[in-house]
Symmetry: C2
């Protein structure tokens, strides 16, 4: 058995698991965690309810797995960009632009990531944080580091790295949010370059006062 790749059987099982996850992603992202039943996931994925429990311990666990993979996929796009060997301003600029790809590739992914994440950040939930929250944290940490060193070099104003991170994330997430809500209405490239403009140079015309 122990080949580098898995046995046919194992691969098949994997595929099944992923089919279930795909359906679950679709449903959860459309209707929210509490408004999707295991029945529904089972029907849509053409498995029996019992089968779902062969793959996941329960609904929570299935959801957690989903969030984990969403967070992972987003992180895979964003992290490399934050680690490129270019100057701080360029890294932030690339980071902003990368959101175009994120939007294009993974609408349901972000939909789920954003919606369930934003709300559960406040609401106390004894579950589903570990993986997901960690990714968010790591990205924010990375951003914060970039701002910190950028501030030392005099590229950025010293508005506090944390505040800069918070502001940029907020603007980006909100924008992504808006695009997903009304797809097609907004030019993504355009919007992102405006986010960049405002974030870097501000909204005032004469920054004198």
């Amino acid at each position: 058995m122990a080949t580098a790749s898995l046995s046919r059987k194992e691969r098949e099982r994997l595929r099944h698991k992923e089919e279930i996850l795909a359906v679950a992603l679709k449903l959860f992202s459309e209707k929210g965690f509490h408004n999707v039943s295991m029945q529904e996931i089972a029907e849509e994925s053409e498995f029996a309810v019992g089968t779902l429990y062969k793959f996941f311990e329960g609904k929570e666990s299935l959801f957690a797995a989903l969030m984990g993979s969403c967070a992972g996929r987003i992180s895979d796009i964003l992290m490399p960009i934050l680690e490129e060997e270019v100057d701080e301003r360029k890294r932030i600029s690339n980071y902003i632009k990368a959101h175009e790809q994120i939007i294009a590739d993974h609408v349901p992914t972000i939909r789920l990531y954003l919606s369930e994440n934003l709300s559960s950040a406040l609401t106390v939930r004894p579950d589903v944080e570990p993986e997901t929250d960690a990714v968010r944290e790591i990205i924010h940490q990375k951003l914060s580091d970039i701002f910190k060193s950028g501030m030392r070099k005099g590229i950025f104003k010293d508005a506090g790295p944390w505040m800069a991170t918070l502001s940029l994330s907020a603007m980006l997430e909100s924008f992504v949010f808006a695009v997903i809500k009304s797809p097609g209405q907004i030019s993504v490239e355009d919007g992102l370059s405006r986010v960049e403009e405002i974030f870097f140079k501000g909204s005032l015309r004469h920054s004198s006062a």
Copy 2:
């Protein structure tokens, strides 16, 4: 009966209703809509379940009433500021500063407003929008108008009023969010003035490039 003020009985009933709403606000804001049962609200408010149904048609309706009043209270603070007869920049500046009061006065209110609002914006919910969403819309519209006229006058860069509104709201909401999550950790006044700084003048030191 028809006095300007209500009869003792009616006032009493009102008080009861408000007690229930207060408890519901506390619970919903802590645990989220789906994780609070009518039983729980009943126990905490020292009424019987049945009594809740004398005041509200059901759980959804109770929640909707709550969201309505939250939105109303927030709107009551924010709208007058957006309508003051001062120049556009000042109005936005005051708007930002007003969030200090919002945070100070109504923590559970905003907690609920933000958490349930952000998540349900994406998730399809066949319910609870009317009042709440309307308030959000109105405030955004007002902000957008201010930016538009400010842009005409050359006070703001022409980054599109919608984009400016989106960015500012995002930064403010995110900040409020963060403060609520870790109370005491952050100086609100300080944070808001940094939001203002970044939003107006940007994060770059030399806006030349």
